[in-house]
Symmetry: C2
C-alpha cells in the first residue's frame, strides 16, 4: 500500500512503558530514537507527559513525565529527523506543563480520553493547539461504548478544531469487520480531519486490523518495535514497515534494534501472545485482570483464569 | 460467525511434528486428542503417513508414519469423537500403505502437493477415495505460482472426483486481500466442492486470514493448539474457537491443554513470532533458510539474515 498521506508513529517507549513504569535505560531510548529516524518513521512518541507532583519519580521512570530537559539530554547530538510526540491523559497534566510549541522539543501532543470525557479531551486539545502543537485526540476503549455515545462524541469533535482522531482498539477485541465499521463511521463523521489507528494484539489481529484501517482510509498508523506494549502489545513496527510500500521506510534499522536491545528486554519483561491477555481481549475487557494473574503464583493456570472471568459470582 | 457447514481440523501433531521430527510423547498426543474431542473439534490430523522404508524410524517419531496399530495403542480406551486424519505427500507413500477405510482408524486422508504435481496428487487422491476415505487435496505454496498455473490445476481438480481443496498459505506471505482473491477463485473454479484454508503465521496474519477465508466461504478450517507448527506456526485453535459461534465448540479444554503441556513444550522447541520467519514470510520464501539460521550460532542476528536474503550474490 502506497499513499503519500500515510504516516507512521512509533509508540515503543510510551506504550511499552506501561509494562515497566517507563524504567528504560537512556541507552535503549536513544537507540530506539536513532533506529526510528533511520527507518524513516514519521513520529516517535517518547512517553507520557504528566505533572511531576502527581506520580512518584522514585517509582516511575522519566518517560512518565517527559520533561523537556530529560528528552534533550537523552537525544543530545542526534539529528531530530523523526518528529517527537508525547501522550497526555486528561486530569494527569496541567496546562502550565506545556511550553509554547516553538520552545519545545515536542512537535505533537496526543490527548487520550474515554468517550464519556470527550468534552475534557477537546478542551485540553484546544489548549495545546493554541500553544502551537500538532494534536490528536485518542478515543479509548470504544469497543465498550454504545454506538449513540460514539456518534455524539464524534459530532462534538467534528465541530471542534481538533485535526486528528484515533480509532483505538484498547482491549484488542476488534475484528477487521469492526475496524471497517468504525473507520467508515469516523471518516464520515469527521470530514476534513485525519483518522489514525492504534490496535492491540491480544488476538494476533493488531497488524491485520491496522492494514484494514489503511484500506478504509486511516492515515496515521501506530506501531511499536517488536510489538512491545501493555499486555499483548501492539502492531509491530517491523511488520508494518514490511507492508508499506513508501520508499522512505526501511525495515533494517528496526531489525538491528530488535537484535541489539529488544530480544534481551523481552526476557526481562513480558508482552506478546499470552493466553490470559487473549482471554481478556476475546471477552472485551481491560487487560488489568490478566496482568494481575500473570504477576501471581498461578500465572499459567489458564483454564482457572477463564473460569474466573466467565463464571463470576451472580450479580442481581 | 455461525454457519453449520463449518468444520475445524486440528493439525497440532502433524504440523507441529515438522519442528521435532514427530518426537512427541504418547502422553501428549493422547492428551491432545482428548482435549480436541472435548472442545468439539471435528477432525484431528495426527501425523503424516509415510512408507516405513522411506524414513529412518530411529530419527523420526511414530507420527511420521501413522501406523494403524500405533494410533490405536495411543488412543486406546478413548471415545473417538473427533474424526482422525493423516496427511500424505506424493512420492512418500505407497498405495498398499492404506487399509480399506472400513478397516482403518482414519476417516480422512489429506493429500499435499505442489501445483506442478497436481496430476500425481489427483491420482493419489483417487486411490484413497476408492478405498473409502474422505479426501482433501492441499495445494501448497500457491503464493509462488503463476495465476495461469493455479487456474489450470483448479480446472483439473474440478473435473476430478476430489471433493475438497485447500487454499494453503505455505510461506505465511498472504494478506487478507490475497485470501479474498484466491478463495473466490477456488470457489468459482470448483463448483459443488468444499474449500478449506490453512494459514501460516509468519506475519501474525494466520488468524485474520482464516477469518477472511470463512467470510469468503471456506468451510474446513485448519488450526493448531497454541499455534504450534513449523517456523512461525499456524492459526491458533484457541483463537479460532473463540471466534466461531457454533455452540458445539468449547475453548476451555484447549486452554487446559496449553497449560498442562504446551507451555513447557514451547520452552523445549521453538515456534511463533520469530523475526527470521517473519522475514521469509515477507519475502515469500520457504522458511528453510530461517530455520537453519535459528539453529546456528548467530540465531538472533536479524539484520545480517535480512541482508543475506535481500542482497544475495548477483545471478545473471
Amino acid at each position: 500500500m502506497y499513499r503519500p498521506e500515510i504516516k507512521v508513529l512509533d509508540c515503543t517507549i510510551r506504550d511499552g512503558g506501561l509494562i515497566n513504569k517507563w524504567q528504560f535505560s537512556d541507552e535503549l531510548v536513544r537507540a530506539t530514537y536513532k533506529a526510528v529516524c533511520e527507518a524513516g518513521v514519521d513520529y516517535m512518541e517518547i512517553g507520557y507527559k504528566a505533572s511531576a507532583d502527581m506520580f512518584d519519580p522514585k517509582e516511575f521512570g522519566k518517560w512518565r513525565f517527559c520533561k523537556e530537559e530529560d528528552v534533550r539530554e537523552v537525544l543530545d547530538g542526534l539529528e531530530l529527523k523523526s518528529k517527537l510526540s508525547c501522550m497526555v491523559d486528561i486530569g494527569r497534566v496541567r496546562e502550565e506543563d506545556f511550553l509554547p510549541a516553538d520552545q519545545s522539543i515536542f512537535d505533537m501532543i496526543r490527548v487520550a480520553c474515554y468517550v464519556k470525557d470527550v468534552d475534557k479531551g477537546i478542551a485540553l486539545a484546544n489548549h495545546v493547539i493554541d500553544k502551537g502543537y500538532e494534536v490528536t485526540l485518542n478515543l479509548m476503549a470504544v469497543s465498550t461504548n454504545l454506538e449513540k455515545d460514539i456518534d455524539e462524541a464524534l459530532a462534538q469533535i467534528s465541530a471542534s478544531k481538533v485535526p486528528c482522531v484515533y480509532l483505538v482498539d484498547s482491549f484488542g477485541n476488534m475484528y477487521c469487520e469492526d475496524i471497517t465499521f468504525l473507520a467508515k463511521k469516523y471518516l464520515q463523521a469527521l470530514p476534513g480531519k485525519t483518522v489514525g489507528i492504534h490496535c492491540h494484539n491480544n488476538r494476533q489481529l493488531a497488524f491485520a486490523n491496522t492494514i484494514q484501517g489503511i484500506i478504509e482510509g486511516a492515515n496515521l498508523l501506530d506501531a511499536s518495535v517488536y510489538g512491545i506494549g501493555r499486555g499483548a502489545g501492539n502492531c509491530t513496527l517491523e511488520l508494518l514497515l514490511g507492508f508499506l510500500k513508501n520508499p522512505k521506510y526501511n525495515i533494517r534499522p528496526v531489525l538491528k534494534l530488535i537484535e541489539d536491545h529488544f530480544v534481551s528486554l523481552r526476557n526481562q519483561i513480558e508482552w506478546g501472545y499470552i493466553i490470559p491477555m487473549m482471554i481478556t481481549g476475546t471477552l472485551n475487557e481491560h487487560p488489568r485482570a490478566a496482568m494481575e494473574w500473570r504477576a501471581g503464583p498461578q500465572k499459567d493456570n489458564y483454564a482457572e483464569f477463564y473460569d474466573k472471568l466467565t463464571m463470576p459470582e451472580i450479580v442481581e
